[in-house]
């Protein structure tokens, strides 16, 4: 299959950047989207043009590195997958594909399609942990029974891979789904209760300081989330935040 690609090129954070058009040929439906990008880059290198920079690593949908806005949607038109799991059979011969970086003020472009998502790290530095020493003097794991439903909900919140698709999909570039998933994972467990108030306040403050937008409950984040992180987490974050603000 033959495709027309419209790819965002930007030398560095200071560069204004713009689109370049490239044609690629010989694309097979069984190839992943990133393998299609490999073909493009191989062609570019052979022509002596700098290849397109993009983030990727595990290529099996779990590391959360890949981050392309494909035809106006994060991770492309398919659902519950990351870009590396998107296969070219979702496209037709002759299609034009617009490829942009995830866009948010809090995610500045580093080069081409590579963005800086360290804002997510800083939100987690602010409180994404339980203050327990790693000394090995902890109590036996089974001395803290946890209701299966809570353990499962905590797990589902914790499946977030931190890719940033929620921010990219949100018309407001809000990071509420990400932050709520991180807060929920700990809020649902007894181990995390002790410092729950402090955690939620610190993480929300950091989220705001990073310049993400406000949540307006459009639900786009959930639709585009490769792991299907539920909107219930955002409600829980709101609840936790309100109770922390009122009672502490």
């Amino acid at each position: 299959m033959k495709l027309k690609l419209k790819v965002w090129r930007q030398e560095d954070a200071q560069d204004k950047g713009g689109f370049q058009n490239y044609d690629v040929d010989g694309i097979d439906g069984d190839m992943s989207f990133l393998e299609m990008m490999d073909v493009l880059n191989n062609n570019l290198v052979n022509e002596g043009i700098d290849p397109v920079e993009f983030d990727h690593d595990c290529r099996e949908g779990i590391c959360g590195s890949c981050s392309l806005q494909i035809n106006g949607e994060p991770h492309g038109p398919d659902r519950r997958i990351t870009t590396c799991q998107l296969h070219m059979r979702k496209f037709k011969d002759g299609d034009e594909i617009v490829i942009e970086p995830f866009r948010a003020t809090a995610f500045p472009v580093i080069k081409d399609l590579v963005i800086d998502r360290s804002a997510f790290d800083r939100i987690q530095h602010a409180g994404g942990y339980i203050s327990v020493n790693t000394s090995g003097n902890t109590q036996d794991a089974n001395s803290i029974p946890i209701e299966k439903q809570d353990a499962d909900d905590s797990f589902y919140a914790a499946t977030c891979i931190g890719c940033g698709a929620c921010v990219a999909a949100c018309k407001n570039a809000s990071a509420m789904l990400f932050t709520s998933a991180k807060v929920s994972q700990f809020a649902l467990l007894p181990q995390g209760e002790v410092e729950a108030h402090e955690r939620v306040i610190n993480m929300v403050n950091q989220m705001d300081a990073e310049g993400f937008g406000n949540c307006t409950n459009t639900g786009a984040c959930y639709v585009e989330c490769p792991k299907g992180i539920s909107l219930e987490n955002i409600a829980r974050l709101n609840r936790e935040y309100l109770s922390a603000s009122v009672f502490s």
């Binding site: 097979d28 190839m31 099996e60 090995g136």
Partner: protein, 667 residues
């Protein structure tokens, strides 16, 4: 007398670790704040080590090439983590975990290390639960376990299909706490380019900021390498695209011995290569072999017709199928260990019976399981004479309940419905048991340079059991290294900060810069991937699932020639002063091109078959691995002396005082 001193403590095996902890030197809390430690790699081993060292009071700097520590490839581990908790009351114990691991490793691991691993395994689970890792639980609220390949007890803790991510997020959260306290500085998108030795001790690293291209000097009193395995030397593997051997190889070239490089695990159930341009292989859980039957066509003409797309697997009659594992290993059938299953698949494909467009795949068929489950279901729900469609429907539901998410993943990738047509699978490189040689304290042969996790030659011998990689990474990082490193650092409390202005740093930085410049000073003919793919093909064809003297010798020559061609003709685009993925890849492939040769040499020198290392010359009459305990009961530790092929072999003899050496059989 060998130069290798394993420093295994005296005494009975179950007392060694406690005794050692009691006797080693400690650094007092006030002095720890004057000591800096560099940790390279932030997966389970590096992340947990960094967090614990920082918590103890050391100043830690972490380095990872990813944009966040949380993305290290430990994240991709699916199955689970072993621990001898014996929560199921099925007779598990530290000894049994120790025994299973040594036996699974085909008696090529160090007893004392493995026992310690088993000993601290329970603590890992306690630690992770306290940190909020959401392990799977039963309705009573207690932790759930499942059983994994090759053992007789249920000791595997898990978090659905993403135990690796959950454990890594746990270690990362412990890191976050220390970052927030100011005890860890985390350098993301940084790659270690070289190790710096001052007076023979590891005193820092040269790193490249992958965003700005800047070459930086970082000093410390000790350097911990937790940079993972080198499976990507095969180009196609289940490793992440960026996984590389650079940190370990640079240390090797500076004096750290490289142990057992040829011990590689090849996992039998991966989704096969679909085309020339494939970049990455995806693992399918081993659990599928519980219900799937593995086969290829019995007649070559059928296999050819399938490859040409003229015939469908479902059209091949039962009597025209070769269930080769059931044929060769009637006792274990489809459930033979990983290495055996992988080799058997390769044998069939090499003989021309492979399926898929490429001929490099075998079928994993669930039709029999669907019918069996369907009949059972129909019977238990009271259907006396169910029609065929009903059986199939019920059977598919039962299979979906067990493997639904795996089937879905398979369909996403291959666009084939595995309920209706057999899955296709093929073995893929998955894990490397070999790595930097370390003593009982996890220190390499360079003083002050430590290796943890998959980066060291580890506790897995010649073959790793499922769910043991996560255990080892966290054991090293949380519970072993933070203690043992104090023994070394106790002598450094008066050293003071290490200057980066010394001649040694100067030289190392210059070497790194020259090396980058050399990559640009070539004729610029072929892209980096061209070399990586070629290297991968040599490795796979000649150093893969089965090896022989002739091909290993050829491999060494071919790799050498390829390496020379690389340095003459590789084409690296872009500038060294910006983000440049091609340059990053070039540096990594350059190291793989050296490691590959040592790998082949190691395989050539080991004249026996054990675990993942199968030498065709050393097999029993019916084609099984033939171990040679008399002559090869040792760890091969290679010293770099200027060229991979000239590497000098040092042997660490392995003593088995607590376990009797036996032959594995699966007939």
């Amino acid at each position: 007398m060998s130069v290798l001193e394993s420093k295994i403590p005296e005494g009975p095996i179950e007392k060694k670790w406690t005794k050692h902890k009691n006797e080693i030197n400690l650094v007092n809390p006030a002095n720890k704040r004057n000591i800096d430690i560099i940790v390279v790699g932030t997966g389970l081993a590096g992340g947990s080590a960094a967090a614990t060292l920082a918590e103890l009071g050391y100043n830690v700097k972490t380095f990872c090439y990813q944009d966040s520590p949380r993305r290290a490839h430990s994240i991709a581990a699916q199955g689970g983590i072993n621990a001898s908790k014996n929560y199921q009351g099925d007779g598990d114990s530290d000894y049994r975990l120790f025994y299973d691991t040594v036996k699974g490793g085909d008696y090529r691991s160090r007893e004392a290390n493995v026992y310690r691993l088993a000993e601290v395994s329970s603590n890992i689970i306690d630690q992770c639960v306290a940190q909020g890792v959401p392990f799977a639980r039963e309705y009573g609220g207690l932790l759930d376990n499942r059983s994994f390949g090759g053992v007789l007890v249920s000791r595997t803790f898990y978090a659905k299909g993403q135990t690796g991510q959950q454990l890594l997020l746990g270690a990362y959260s412990a890191m976050n706490r220390q970052i927030n306290r100011g005890k860890i500085q985390s350098f993301n998108r940084h790659e270690m380019m070289d190790l710096v030795l001052v007076d023979g001790k590891a005193r820092g690293i040269i790193a490249r900021d992958l965003v700005t291209g800047e070459i930086e000097r970082h000093s410390a009193h000790a350097v911990v390498l937790a940079s993972g395995g080198y499976g990507n030397v095969f180009y196609l593997s289940t490793n992440a695209m960026g996984s590389n051997v650079m940190a370990a190889w640079r240390a090797h070239k500076k004096g750290a011995f490289f142990a057992n490089p040829c011990f590689t695990q090849i996992h039998p159930t991966c989704i096969p290569v679909s085309g020339e341009l494939q970049s990455k292989l995806t693992l399918m859980s081993e659990s599928l072999r519980n219900d799937g039957r593995i086969w290829v066509p019995k007649h070559k003409k059928d296999a050819e017709a399938i490859r040409e797309g003229k015939l469908k697997p479902t059209e091949i009659a039962e009597e025209d199928r070769d269930y080769y594992l059931e044929r060769r290993y009637p006792a274990f059938g489809n459930l033979v260990p990983r290495d055996v299953a992988s080799r058997a698949a390769k044998e069939r494909c090499d003989a021309g019976y492979g399926v898929n467009k490429t001929g490099q795949a075998v079928y994993l068929d669930f039709k029999a399981a669907i019918e069996r489950y369907g009949k059972e279901k129909a019977f238990t729900s009271g259907h006396k004479n169910p029609i065929k469609e009903e059986i199939i429907k019920l059977g598919e539901e039962a299979v979906e309940a067990k493997y639904g998410n795996l089937f879905e993943m398979y369909e996403k990738i291959t666009d084939q419905n595995p309920y209706k047509t057999p899955m296709m699978i093929f073995p893929a490189v998955h894990y490397t048991m070999g790595g930097l040689w370390v003593d009982y304290n996890l220190m390499t042969t360079i003083p002050g340079c430590y290796a943890a996790g998959e980066a060291n030659f580890s506790d897995h011998g010649a073959n790793r059991l499922g769910a043991s990689a996560l255990m080892q990474g966290l054991a090293d990082g949380y519970f072993v290294l933070p203690y043992t490193i104090g023994d070394y650092l106790a002598a450094d409390i008066r050293t003071g900060a290490i200057s980066t202005e010394s001649e040694e740093f100067e030289t190392a930085e210059k070497e790194v810069k020259d090396r980058i410049q050399r990559l640009y000073n070539t004729n610029g003919k072929n892209p980096v991937d061209y070399y990586h793919k070629k290297l991968g093909k040599i490795m796979w064809d000649k150093c893969g699932m089965s090896r022989n003297e002739k091909e290993l010798k050829e491999a060494m020559e071919e790799i050498k020639a390829l390496r020379e061609d690389f340095w003459e003709n590789v084409r690296v685009t872009g500038k060294a002063e910006t983000k440049n993925a091609e340059l990053e890849k070039a540096g990594r492939v350059a190291d793989f091109l050296e490691l590959g040769e040592l790998f082949a040499k190691d395989a050539l020198e080991r004249n026996e078959s054990c675990g993942g290392h199968f030498r065709e010359e050393y097999q029993t009459e019916d084609g099984e691995a033939l171990r040679d305990d008399e002559n090869f009961r040792f760890v091969s530790a290679w010293e770099y002396v200027g060229n991979p092929r000239d590497a000098k072999l040092h042997k660490e003899q392995l003593e088995f005082e607590n376990i009797e050496l036996k032959t594995r059989s699966y007939k």
